[in-house]
């Protein structure tokens, strides 16, 4: 039972991930970092976007590995083709 609810947790995470990613990469959130850059430094917006991007990929990797156990669920077994 614990395993089952755990798996459900990862499915929920998999479903939430794209929305979280969109939220982080879209205005207004992204505008917080879109400040004029200080001379002599890498513009903060560049660091922010690449860091968020890398974080999303890492989370996706983690979720994809965990959610994989779910594929042997009977609910997920697609039936044979129709006409």
């Amino acid at each position: 039972m614990a395993r089952r609810s755990n798996r459900q947790g990862f499915r929920d995470a998999a479903a939430i991930l794209p929305f979280a990613a969109a939220l982080l990469l879209m205005p207004p959130l992204v505008r917080i970092f879109a400040t004029p850059s200080i001379p002599g430094a890498v513009p903060p917006i560049v660091l922010y976007i690449f860091a968020v991007w890398a974080a999303i990929i890492l989370v996706a990797l983690f979720v994809a590995r965990r959610v994989g156990d779910a594929t042997d669920d009977p609910e997920d077994t697609p039936g044979p083709g129709g006409t």
């Binding site: 001379p39 996706a60 994809a64 077994t77 697609p78």
Partner: protein
Amino acid sequence: MLPVNLVVLVCLAYVAILFGVAFAGDRRARKDPTGWLSSPLVYTLSISIYCSSWTFFGSVGSAAKNGLEFLTIYLGPTIVFVGWWIFLRKLVTIGRIHHTTSIADFISARFGKSPALGALITILTLVAITPYIALQLKAITASFQVTTYPAGALVAASQRLEPDFVVAFWLAAGLCLFSIMFGVRNIDVNERHHGVIAAIAVEALVKLVAFLAVGIWVFATLSNAPDVMFRNAPVSLLNPEQGFGSRWVALCFLAGAAVICLPRQFQVTVVENSSDEQIRTASWMFPFYLFLMNLFVIPIAMAGLNYLPAGSDPDLFVLTLPMTNGQETIGLLAFIGGFSSATSMVIVSSIALSTMISNHIVMPVAMRFSLVPTGSGQSARNFILTARRMSIVFIIFLGFIYFWVSGTSDALASIGLISFCGLIQPLPSLVAGLYWQRATHRGALAGLAAGFLVWGYTLFLPSFEGAFLMSADVIENGPFGLTWLKPYALFGQDAYDPLVHALLWSMTVNIVLLVAVSLWREPTPLTRFQATLFIDVFRRQTERERGVIRRTARVADLRQIAGRILGPEETVRLFYLDGVGERAVIASDELLSLVETRLAAHVGAATARTLVSQVVTSETISVEELKRLAGEAEQIRAYSAELERKSRQVEATAAELAAANERLREIDVQKDEFLSQVSHEVRTPMTAIRSFSEILLTNRDLDEARKLHFLGIIQSESFRLTRLLDGILDLNVTEPGEQAWDMTVFDPEVAVEHAIATCEPLARAAGVRIRRGRRARHALVLGSQDRLAQVFINLISNAIKHNPNANPEVVVSSSIRANVTYEAKVADNGPGVAPMDRESIFRKFVRGAKAQQGGVGLGLAISRQIAERFGGELCIFDSKAGGAEFVVRLPLCTRDGAGSGHSTAV
């Protein structure tokens, strides 16, 4: 510069390697379809054709001009892929199960296998993708010219080069050759192309390595501290506040939609997919690939701005930076990277489109006018293959002509995004098809056509700047002076960038029409059926679902159709190995469905249906059945959780019921036994009484002694009968729910003493010694004292009667357990009771194995019932002396009658 011959030679060598890979891949896939070719890695690499030359050269150019905007093209797909669980998984699963051949096939199959829808999408795609292919040809041609420019790359990059159409022509020809050889070479014309995928995967690696090589070299040698590096950076990068408005969001959406809808992306993501595992891995690996591809874009762009003279084409920085710095090897590598990204895009696009053209335009038209050859087994297949080959040549040369006509203008530069905007018009139909049961093919047709027209009017035609169909005056002032129809500012909305403007209007019109028209008319039965299959793809199919469509066709006709498209080998497998086709004359619904599915994998669902329909003599789709199915699907979803819970309850109840039933049956048997026993037991004394009374009545001259003897027998039999009836009465008295006892609180020891005293004479007569063991004191129980005494009398007399021991002895002892239970024991040193008989001796009319006559076999049954009525129990163990030990346990109570501890008063 690099010598032309060298560059050409390298290109040819590279293409030769690709040929080798594709050839090996094809052979390998034929031998082992589940080998490394279907590994998630190869799958992910093949999806990476998303990065065309537009990425390879264009990203740097865009970064140099517009700052971070280029990232949207990769962030959109990242969001779509990490969200695979919601959308892509479903899309890919349906595509795999239904053997989808293209996006046009997918949408047409979902909307009732509509041929019109397939044809419309094919034409729209063709229009929108031609400039995109032209862009790729331009990129390779330009990079080739720069690499080989006699005066050096620097000069070439800083001036306007006339495109060399001879190079472009040979390039186009080469691409045709490759696409035809591997995309349409297969005798097997089904939807997957293993050889091409293998080659594409290699190309994906090559372009990544090439770009990383340039990036690392630039980073290591040309990058300085940030203050110098960003010296010439565009304003949009240094002061990016303006860059994150509607255009940022629109571009992310556009790119996210494009990674699903572009024909080449649909081909590699959905059509070539063979397992869930692939999409699961690609969900993070593809975003990772994009991440790597973009890691060095900004350093390269900044270095280009810093080190190359002003006016150099930023789109070619990747190439010119190493070339001007004498790094010709890296330059050549960069050229190969760009070459491979462009060629892979063109090859897969043209293969995907050629499939669409042959399945949705050529085949329907050919069948309509009976142009499909019906002769020998191979001719129909050859017809399809030829159609596809011609389509490839047509598509690539359409791109070439477009390049030729518009190559000298700047119109091509921004065509990538314009093209995207047209190509994503099928998105609303696609999404509605996956999630909305009610969406109809009319709605999809209307939405698609309108969205496409709006795109053409507001974006595509104005992009020619008056050179094609739409005059510059119309672009500036609107048609016929109607300013509210200005292409870049419909209804006066001029606040937006043209791309955002067109995207907004085309998508709005598309979605509104799709929804409105879908709601206006009922879906056709077939649309409804297909909707159920697509939307509920993760649900198990039921038998009923397959029975919705009933068709009649002769097996021979069906076999002929299948043979023409599938080829003899697969036809034989389909019809004979299953044993279905051998005897039957009329094909079963299963066989018809199977054949149609296989045909759909080759020629698309709509054409397959038309083909099968040619030999079907009658077809009925049960609308009622369908409606119920759709309703059921909804209900099943809603109630499945509840059902699961209930089924567990039902299981538990069923188990209880089964136990109760078993118990009832036992009781019933016992009742029958009881009745027959009772009759038997009553009958014996009655017979004796009757016969002796008859003797006394008939023989009146009997002597006194014999009369007395007979009367004695009659009397003793009557006593026996009375005892028996008393016993039966006792049984009834102790049954629950029968008449109440006089409940009193008393010391159970009194009952024990009474019982021992009563049994003393019997014991003395049998020579049995009754010994008193340790006794409890001050115990109190609630119930009937006489009844309890009856229990002990029964136990003690049993112990006396059934004891053949030479030195018989009965021990009576009692104690108080844990302050809540009174426990009395009656033990003997007789033979004991075998374990298997221990429960049965408590049943009615069961006597001990060696019982003497006399007992009626009710004593223990009554005793146990009395003990239970007290709220206690009566059970049997082995005694220490070797015989049986009966134990009575009763709950204690206080003087005022309340139960103590857990026990309750009865």
